[in-house]
């Protein structure tokens, strides 16, 4: 059973609820995020058919450093799309990876989907680099998206629930706990009786 974490020790996902007439893109412009995609790209890849959306905040400063959205939910096909962005100037030292992990985990925890798609115009998307090979590249749509006078390729990646539950969720759990809590949790697990121990104790009685 996955827990829908919306915070780690240093990062928080806060529900974004823009007032009538204000878009999430407007909120991010106001927060002065660097490298914000154009309104066209944002509208096409991040904010259509949205089921839930969050602003990413640094917990030490409360500063908005990114955005996460969940959209195009298809319960028949059991898949959905998720998108996220972070400001590289203020979200370094692995914070982008934390947001990625929370995004994937939240989708699998909250919706009955078997895979999550990420559409991106970036070819070297951080999430899909060496250390995190859980994402499968499923397609490329050549010259698919109009962006400021240029047609950009769109790359489609997917993360599967089975793989996430087996390997990814544990890493996110570690990010929500300090070293002391992790050590305590590990010693509790190692001290718990195993099935075989319980069976042999049952046999004795």
């Amino acid at each position: 059973m996955l827990f829908p974490h919306t915070k780690t020790r240093r990062t928080l996902l806060r529900h974004a609820n823009p007032p009538e007439g204000v878009t999430a893109h407007d909120l991010l412009l106001k927060a002065e995020l660097n490298d914000l995609p154009s309104a066209e790209v944002f509208g096409a890849l991040y904010s259509k058919e949205v089921s839930a959306q969050f602003l990413v905040e640094r917990r030490d400063t409360d500063r908005v450093v990114g955005y996460v959205s969940f959209h195009h939910l298809d319960l028949s096909g059991q898949h959905m799309r998720a998108s996220f962005l972070t400001d590289p100037a203020v979200a370094g030292n692995g914070l982008g990876a934390e947001v990625t992990l929370m995004t994937i985990n939240y989708a699998f925890a909250m919706w009955n989907v078997r895979k999550i798609y990420f559409w991106t115009t970036e070819t070297d998307f951080d999430v899909f680099r060496t250390a995190f090979n859980a994402a499968h590249k499923e397609a490329t749509l050549p010259e698919h998206l109009y962006d400021r006078g240029v047609l950009r390729d769109v790359h489609i990646y997917a993360v599967y629930r089975e793989q996430w539950e087996e390997h990814g969720a544990e890493l996110l759990n570690k990010l929500t706990q300090g070293p002391g809590e992790r050590r305590k949790a590990a010693s509790t697990v190692s001290a718990a009786p195993t099935d075989s121990t319980e069976a042999s104790e049952g046999e004795k009685s």
Binding site: G94, E98, V127, R129, T130, A131, A134, H167, L171, P179
Partner: protein, 103 residues
């Protein structure tokens, strides 16, 4: 004498960082379930934080927290260093003081 002691500690922490970083670059894929070591011969030995991607940095910080039992991640937002020496200083600042000669 004290300078030498500090320098020894920094050397130890730096070596630990190098070991963990290399392990992550080589075996980080195992951590997340898909071992792919087909290009193993081409993986450069990491010598700088710039050699590590966002996920590798997280794995490195968690490993150092477990090794030294101190919290690092919470303060990482304020860390602006780019190399392993800077990270070693960052770790040492958070370690409890130890007596000279203590291993």
């Amino acid at each position: 004498m004290t300078e030498m002691f500090v320098s020894d500690q920094k050397k130890e922490v730096r070596e630990q960082i190098e070991r963990e970083a290399l392990k992550i670059v080589l075996f980080g894929s195992y951590e997340l379930g898909i071992p792919d070591l087909t290009d193993l011969g081409e993986i450069p030995e990491p010598s700088d934080l710039g050699n590590l991607d966002s996920f590798s940095i997280i794995l490195l910080i968690l490993a150092l927290e477990d090794t030294y039992g101190v919290s690092l991640l919470d303060d990482m937002a304020g860390f602006t260093g780019r190399n392993f020496d800077d990270l070693a200083d960052f770790v040492i600042e958070r370690l409890p003081p130890r007596a000279e000669g203590q291993k």
